[in-house]
């Protein structure tokens, strides 16, 4: 009798421990829906855009699997193809699927990335000859400012480095998106640096842009010209192909190691910075890794070279 009572107590304790550890039967309770976007060629060719309901047990992989036909490798942890578009070599260049959650490259696999609700998931099929590591992108605006990233909310600060009017414009855009901007710079804050490149390049994280896409994941560079710094657009292979001029502004995001993402709203001149600030908003940033303003128009980065332009036209 006492033995059976002991077994019952042990079973009850085990069940309580499992429940406390987040274990349970079934998919769990519903959480906020998530947005899923699937694109090709650095976001230039959209394939799928859907809002999905999610449960407590859902992962990025499960969300994708429920919305698109996929194939996987390595025990189901690596996405090999989505809707028949398969990773591999194309014209001698490596292509594969990469994903971002709330505008930040995930440090873990899609099958292990548990959803909290409200995430913006972006899968992109791209050339990774130049780099397979793009730590942050701007195309999930207003994420990561709204809702945070990697399952945690983070404070947001705007650091005005001579940006002038552009700083006010950036603050206004963020606040209209529902972001509360912190007054000081608390640790772990997502920083938005606004100002001419000559000032921003002193920031250790922003300076990664000059080290090339291998370091920053930003397909742009600044070259010193007669009238100051000029923005140069890079193609997917990492080669500089287009001088966008001193009036061109840049909105890009990068990240150093596991630190918080840093956005730069910059340009060679004050006018260029203002032009860059005008790019903020879902309409102009959506599905882009980074965006440059050129003569009042937005130019997605990396710059579309002739070969990629043909590929994008073909996929659309």
């Amino acid at each position: 009798m006492s033995r059976s009572r002991g077994t019952a107590v042990a079973t009850a304790l085990l069940c309580a421990a499992l429940a406390a550890a987040g274990c349970g039967l079934g998919p769990g309770a519903g959480i906020d829906g998530v947005e899923l976007t699937v694109t090709r060629e650095f976001g230039a060719a959209p394939m799928l855009e859907r809002s999905l309901e999610a449960n407590e047990s859902d992962t990025v992989m499960r969300a994708l699997e429920g919305a698109a036909a996929i194939s996987t490798r390595y025990g189901g942890g690596y996405v090999q193809s989505i809707e028949g578009v398969e990773g591999g070599q194309r014209d001698g260049r490596p292509f594969d699927w990469f994903f971002y959650v709330d505008g930040v490259e995930s440090p873990i696999g899609a099958a292990d990335y548990a959803l909290q609700g409200g995430e913006r998931i972006w899968w992109d099929y791209r050339d990774w000859a130049a780099t397979n590591h793009v730590p942050a992108v701007v195309g999930s605006w207003p994420a990561p400012f709204v809702g945070g990233y990697e399952g945690r909310r983070h404070p947001v600060t705007v650091e005005c480095e001579g940006g002038g009017e552009a700083c006010a414009r950036v603050r206004q855009e963020l606040e209209s998106a529902g972001v509360s901007i912190a007054g000081d710079s608390p640790p772990g804050a997502i920083r938005v640096l606004v100002g001419p490149w000559a000032r921003l390049r002193g920031d250790p994280v922003a300076a990664l842009v000059e080290a090339g896409p291998q370091e920053s994941g930003v397909f742009a560079d600044f070259e010193r010209g007669r009238s100051g710094y000029e923005l140069v657009g890079l193609v997917a292979g990492g080669e500089a192909v287009r001088h966008l001029g001193p009036g061109a502004g840049l909105v890009a995001a990068t990240r150093r190691y596991d630190g918080p993402p840093v956005w730069v709203v910059t340009g060679g001149t004050a006018a260029a910075v203002r032009a860059a600030a005008g790019l903020l908003g879902a309409a102009k940033l959506r599905h882009h890794y980074a965006v440059a303003s050129e003569d009042g128009k937005e130019t997605p980065l990396p710059v579309v070279g002739p070969a990629r332009a043909a590929a994008v036209r073909g996929r659309r």
């Binding site: 499992l18 550890a21 987040g22 274990c23 349970g24 039967l25 079934g26 998919p27 769990g28 449960n55 407590e56 047990s57 992962t59 992989m61 499960r62 699997e65 429920g66 996987t72 025990g75 189901g76 942890g77 873990i108 099958a111 292990d112 548990a114």
Partner: protein
């Protein structure tokens, strides 16, 4: 004690067929198991090999293989359910585990693991039937021209493994026979004794092989065979072929052709992810029926009873070459009765019991 997987000479078509024919038939069914993921097709392939084993008299091997296969399949299912996080139907959330991360048990991962396990069972049954029904000596004889030393090694292994199994059984019997008061003997001491005995036997075998000249590098060049030897050789080749060979080759070819055609026609309509989809197309059902029917290939009609008068000529052969007791009455050879005795009479319809040839 004999292992259930050990070859036993039986008078059946599978045993009589040449090793190549048996391998073609069983190999085709194994190939189907690797080609297909549909549980229906896998079950049909498993039923076919089990039926073939049953008809060939290797039911003990089939049962042992099923038991062993289940013991392997169960861990496959469990590991797959814990490691693979795919599938939409979450059955249980087991929280975060070290190394594995978030573990969710899904119905799809369980089904996928079950398919892997089923495939393992089919392959195990096929190999069990092969092991129990195909004479290893014939296989090795066939392989000897290709790889002599490997054939010799395989011969020794195929001989020594059943001997070791018999040793283990004898040791267990001996341990039990010490009586109920004796201390229990653990597995480790038994295994140690078994290993020591096996090593002793291996040394003996090595010495014997050396004495017989197996360690010599080269041999004399063979002289050209005489006409008589050629005739004898061709007749021995004829003996190696079996009238059942064609049947097994045909069955294997049919199974393989059906599997390839079915694959092209979409008979493998099973997908575990993201939700379980089990396609039961007519092609799947037709292929499954073909597979089950192929299991009848080793079937042999039971020989009809012959009249007693002709029993001498139709008596079944024993494996060692002797004849079984015929149906009619038997007169044993009479003992010598001296040089002047009259010859013994034999009643009509009787047969003499022959001494087995060794």
């Amino acid at each position: 004690m004999r292992s259930p997987f050990a070859y036993v000479s039986r008078p059946g078509p599978l045993q009589a067929a040449s090793p190549a024919a048996a391998v073609a038939f069983l190999g085709a069914l194994v190939a189907v198991a690797f080609l297909y993921s549909s549980p229906l097709v896998l079950v049909a392939a498993g039923a076919a090999v089990a039926l073939a084993g049953r008809l060939a008299g290797a039911w003990a091997a089939v049962r042992a293989a099923i038991r062993l296969g289940l013991a392997i399949a169960l861990p496959i299912v469990v590991v797959n359910a814990l490691v693979v996080n795919r599938g939409e139907t979450v059955l249980a959330r087991l929280g975060d585990w070290p190394l594995l991360g978030q573990v969710d048990v899904t119905a799809e991962a369980l089904a996928d693991g079950a398919v892997f396990g089923l495939r393992a069972i089919v392959v195990m049954i096929a190999f069990a039937v092969y092991s129990a029904c195909v004479d290893p000596d014939r296989v090795l004889r066939a392989l000897r021209p290709l790889a002599g030393r490997s054939a010799l090694t395989a011969t020794l292994v195929s001989r020594l493994v059943p001997v070791a199994a018999a040793d283990a059984a004898r040791l267990r019997d001996a341990a039990r026979l010490r009586g109920p008061a004796a201390a229990a003997v653990g597995r480790a001491p038994l295994a140690r004794r078994l290993l020591a005995g096996s090593l002793d036997r291996a040394v003996d075998v090595a010495a014997t092989l050396e004495l017989r000249g197996y360690s010599l590098e080269s041999r004399r060049a063979p002289r050209p065979p005489s006409v008589r030897e050629k005739t004898r050789h061709s007749s021995s080749l004829r003996r190696r072929r079996s009238r059942y060979d064609r049947r097994f080759y045909l069955a294997g070819a049919l199974v393989l052709a059906g599997a390839i055609a079915g694959k092209l026609l979409g008979a493998d309509g099973f997908h575990a992810y993201p939700t379980i989809r089990l396609g039961l197309e007519p092609t799947t059902i037709a292929l499954s029926a073909l597979l089950v029917l192929s299991g009848l290939t080793p079937y042999r009609r039971k020989p009809r009873r012959q009249p007693a008068a002709s029993s001498r000529s139709t008596g079944r052969r024993r494996p060692n070459g002797g004849r079984l007791r015929p149906a009619g009455p038997v007169v044993r050879p009479s003992p010598p009765r001296g040089p002047g005795a009259a010859p013994a009479r034999r009643a009509p319809g009787t047969a003499v019991l022959e001494t087995p040839r060794v």
